[in-house]
């Protein structure tokens, strides 16, 4: 089974802090994605990557950056956390054959 592992289930950070959310997949998938999930808004794409060191902006990239130095790892960075970034963050990886596999999510609270 494909596994997508997000390093933290819950995080509480202070406004202005730099926050790193880590995601690792074990199936050698080319594609990796970061979404945020908010009630009534569904899943909105923040950034995605089709290959190592490649990144593409999604629909809501403002306030975020990403890093993909290794194929299996895709990190989401909040440069200066703000309260409106309090959300559930979901990482996913995909292949043409197996489609998307999501991690269990990181619930981030910015206080």
């Amino acid at each position: 089974d494909v596994k997508v592992t997000q390093s933290s289930r819950y995080l509480v950070k202070r406004t202005g802090e730099k926050v790193f959310l880590e995601c690792v997949q074990d199936m050698d998938h080319e594609n990796m994605f970061w979404y945020r999930q908010d009630p009534g808004l569904g899943l909105r794409l923040i950034y995605f990557s089709y290959d190592v060191k490649m990144k593409e902006k999604g629909d809501i990239p403002e306030g975020y950056s990403v890093s993909r130095e290794k194929k299996e790892r895709f990190s989401l960075i909040l440069e200066s956390a703000s309260t409106n970034q309090t959300s559930m963050y979901l990482c996913a990886s995909s292949s043409e054959i197996y489609g998307y596999t999501f991690g269990s999510g990181t619930r981030l609270t910015v206080v």
């Binding site: 997508v4 594609n31 994605f33 979404y35 009630p39 009534g40 808004l41 569904g42 899943l43 909105r44 794409l45 995605f48 089709y50 999604g58 979901l90 996913a92 995909s94 043409e96 489609g99 998307y100 596999t101 999501f102 991690g103 269990s104 999510g105």
Partner: protein, 113 residues
């Protein structure tokens, strides 16, 4: 801009009833339409998917109906069970968008025993 619109936002059904969730899309380049199921504390998981060359796909109690001319698709859950209580997301993907999925807003389904 939400390219995939989903309704209703929440749905309560009695055990044994039929649950129906609807989605509409705008981008005619979409060519793959999956549904995802999410339980509390878990990430979404693929439930069933359809491509526009067929009008219906059935897997067990779950059926997708697809209307290409209306740009709509729906999920039907027959004989709904309390274990089906979850959040359901429709999504769409097109060849031009690469692998990225665009999701609907989600439907919170509650099946009462």
């Amino acid at each position: 801009q939400q390219q995939v619109k989903q309704s209703p936002q929440s749905l309560i059904v009695q055990k044994g009833g039929i649950s129906i969730i609807n989605c509409a899309y705008e981008n005619t380049a979409f060519d793959y339409f999956p549904w995802y199921q999410q339980f509390p504390g878990k990430g979404p998981a693929l439930l069933i998917a359809i491509r526009p060359d067929v009008s219906e796909k059935k897997e067990g109690r779950f059926t997708i109906s697809f209307n290409k001319s209306a740009k709509q698709f729906s999920l039907h859950i027959m004989d709904s069970q309390p274990g089906d209580s979850a959040t359901y997301f429709c999504a769409a993907k097109g060849a031009k968008g690469g692998s990225r999925l665009t999701f609907g807003e989600g439907t919170q389904l509650t099946v009462n025993p």
